[in-house]
Amino acid sequence: MNLFLYLDKNSWLHRLDPRTKIIGVILLSCLCLCFNHPLYMAAITLGVVLIAILSRSLRNLWLLRIILLLLFLFSSLMWPLFAKGPTSLLSWGFIQVSRESLLYGFAMGLRLSTFVAIGLIFLSTTRNEEFTNGLIRSGIPYPVAFALSTALRLVPTFAGAGATIVQAQISRGLDLESGSIFSRFRKFTPQAIPLFIYAIRHTHLLAMALESKGFSPESKRTLYHELRMGRTDYIAIALLLLLLGFAIYIRFGLGLGVILTGRM
């Protein structure tokens, strides 16, 4: 079963240095934090989708469309209940929804799914090893970098094992299609425990295998794929910085892109 997000393509984004991409993720996320007006947020979302198309990683966004949509809906529905705005639309006991809070909810929904989309594009265009190497070269201590990328690397492995476990339990009569939330929760045990034990056993074996191949977290190692910041890398970072500066100017200089003041 193939559950890895990385798409082995050769786009300009794939060719960027992983350090550039890590910086890019941070800058883009900051950009998302600049506005809480849904129209301005939508522009950023559109830009991110454009990057996904250009880097040929739209497939992964489409694959996880349900998650992205759920995040958007959940956030759009929840925020209006907590944020307060001047123009009241609905007032029912505790619950007060205003036009501004509704729009703010949309913006937050967009922001959340855009965050996730940025992360997905990063993982779709960056090999796990490149990510590790990028972190190390950015000065992150090796054990930390390695732990982080290992965690990412193991997600698909465990998801695959999880699928097998569910099938095995269904074959024994576990019925996942019916029952109340409470009884469904109880049905979780026969799936969780084997997965938990699988995870422990797997990581244990992995540790043995890594050490047997000469890995030790403290010592230096060479990198087979050399990292090199090229001209495109500097151009990409410069462009993103400019964009962020421009956005900050719009927000704070011109006071635009805000639907509820006093909130991020």
């Binding site: 269904i170 009569g173 026969p190």
Partner: protein, 558 residues
């Protein structure tokens, strides 16, 4: 000159273990030797392997006595990663060793750790990818490789460290016959490079290629020597839980002189001494399928496409299985055996065509009803064991189906009796041995008393006595009226136990018939990259009906 590897009075007890895993091991290897290590489950084979690169005592703690010296260096004084300069270790479960996102980087991992230059790493990737025959897969993701290819990659990624000693713990257990051959031919090549190779394996056929065979029993090495010396001692092999070479056993039982190790040498001896005449080619029976009203399981024009890959995993399967049959599904990894079997308990739904269970569409059954009709035992028991007691574990299905407690206890007790684990109700399933856990998995399917039981690789990971036990139990269930379908790579298991054999290749059925007839057609088996077990090959040559040693002895004496 001192020997390259020397083990002196080595004993080891795992922390918390109540008996030593290794007892007074003494051995020496002087370079360019191929050793095959054999023994029953729990004999200490893996423990001995791990002591060679200081995983024992560095990774697994415990009471360590004695010495392991490599090039005169005390192994336990060095860390595992220091030892990686001398000892390459391929662990049992190759799936969990592959870690990188493509083949090339997997090969580079070790040399990167040794801080080699980029140029040298490139050279080693090139050289050892060629060695393991994966050069054209450089950019592939390891997860997309076949079993044999994955194992070869695991070996290649260790070889790229250029160790003087290569240790492989059961490198062929999970592989189909082709994958096995791929890995074992690597072993031969490695020996020609003047290095030491130590392999743990269950199959005596592997041991034939070795320079030395070491037999282990209860933590001790009880015999060491050339295969010609060690393998003919049948009683000793049996006491170590190893399947003896059938040719030797046959000659002994027939009272013939000679101890042939292979089918070819057996045929030679028979011809030279005119021990027994060849009979004419035996008549193949025309399959006389009784035209019963409706078969228990059937597939009609079944096609299946895995949605994510858009590859056709099954095409145009027509198949029917009657009540009371014992069927073996054979074929390479990826030939579609498991995909086909999963259609019969509704885990997969056909892309087109029909799957009928007792004349009704599989899709019309709920999962619950289907679980009562068709039980499916997965390959790895650890994918399903979760409960605190065996009682709870085995009763899980019944409870899910809404049975009342007295019925559950009764049926659990029955199931446990069938798998020969009566009285285990209160034990912790996680604390049992692999063989016992496998039986628990069977029992937990058995408890709902399904009419059909499908088992995916029921003998993998078990030693010979455990395999035999498992199969005898299935035969017993079959005699009680259950229909049994096994998916297996083990040719002797299929030959000895299944009455019907289905051979699959590339998602289609290549051959389907009485087991004896299928195994008589060596050409068609070869097309599926399979080969009959030695005794059947001999039987084919002789023109006898026998599929097992006992049958052959009876027939020849007859």
């Amino acid at each position: 000159m001192r020997p390259y590897l020397s083990i002196q009075n080595l004993s080891f007890t795992y922390r918390g273990g109540n008996r030593p895993a290794l007892k007074n091991i003494n051995a020496e290897i002087d370079g360019a030797t191929f050793v095959v290590l054999m023994g029953h489950g729990g004999a200490g084979k893996s423990t001995l392997c791990c002591s060679l690169n200081s995983l024992i005592p560095r990774f697994f703690r415990g009471e360590y006595r004695g010495h392991v010296l490599i090039k005169g260096k005390e192994v336990p004084c060095h860390t595992v990663s220091e030892m990686s300069h001398h000892v390459g270790m391929v662990l049992q479960d190759f799936e969990s060793q592959l870690f990188s996102t493509n083949v090339e980087l997997e090969m580079a991992f070790g040399p990167e750790n040794h801080c080699l230059s980029r140029k040298e790493i490139g050279r080693r990737i090139e050289q050892y990818l060629t060695f393991v025959g994966l050069k054209s897969f450089r950019q592939r993701e390891p997860a997309t490789l076949s079993g044999g290819q994955k194992q070869r990659l695991a070996i290649g990624s260790v070889l790229s460290l250029e160790p003087e000693i290569l240790v492989m713990d059961e490198p062929t257990t999970d592989l189909d016959p082709v994958g096995r051959e791929e890995v074992l031919s690597l072993a031969e090549k490695f020996r020609q490079e003047n290095r030491i190779l130590l392999i743990v394996d269950h199959e005596p056929e592997t041991a034939l290629r070795a320079d030395q065979v070491w037999l282990m029993q209860e933590g001790e090495v009880i015999a060491k020597g050339s295969p010609e010396k060690v393998l003919p001692n049948l009683s000793r092999l049996k006491s170590c839980g190893i399947k003896p070479l059938p040719t030797i056993e046959l000659f002994e039982k027939m009272g013939w002189a000679g101890q042939p190790l292979t089918v070819e040498s057996a045929i030679n001896l028979i011809e030279r001494h005119h021990l027994v005449g060849q009979r004419g080619p035996f008549p193949t029976t025309v399959p006389s399928r009784s035209m019963k009203s409706s078969p228990l399981l059937s597939a009609e024009a079944l096609r299946f496409v895995y949605p994510r890959f858009q590859t056709e995993a099954l095409h145009d399967i027509d198949l029917s299985i009657d009540e009371g049959e014992f069927v073996a599904l054979l074929g390479q990894n990826g030939s579609g055996k498991t995909t086909l079997a999963k259609h019969f308990n509704g885990l997969l739904k056909p892309s087109s065509g029909r799957v009928l269970i007792q004349g009704r569409f599989a899709a019309d059954y709920s999962h619950r009803d289907l679980a009562r009709m068709v039980g499916y035992v997965f390959q790895n028991p650890d994918h399903q064991i979760f409960a605190r007691t065996v009682q709870e574990e085995v009763g899980f299905g019944l409870k899910a189906l809404g049975e009342n407690p007295p019925t559950i206890s009764k049926q659990v007790a029955d199931a446990l009796e069938t798998v020969d684990l009566q009285g285990y109700e209160e034990k912790n399933p996680f604390a049992l041995t692999r063989g016992e856990r496998q039986r628990i998995a069977v029992a937990s399917v058995l408890a709902t008393q399904p009419r059909v039981i499908i088992l995916d690789e029921p003998t993998t990971g078990l030693d010979y006595p455990q395999q035999k036990n498992m199969m005898e139990m299935l035969r017993h269930l079959n005699q009680k009226g259950h229909t049994i379908v096994i998916i297996t790579h083990s040719m002797w298991v299929a030959a000895e136990y299944a009455t019907r054999t289905i051979v699959m290749k590339d998602g289609s059925i290549l051959a389907d018939g009485r087991t004896r007839d299928i195994f008589a057609d060596e050409a068609i088996l070869e097309r599926a990259s399979l080969r009959p077990p030695p005794i059947v090959r001999l039987s084919n040559w002789l023109g006898t009906q026998a599929l097992t040693l006992e049958e052959m002895v009876k027939e020849l004496k007859g």
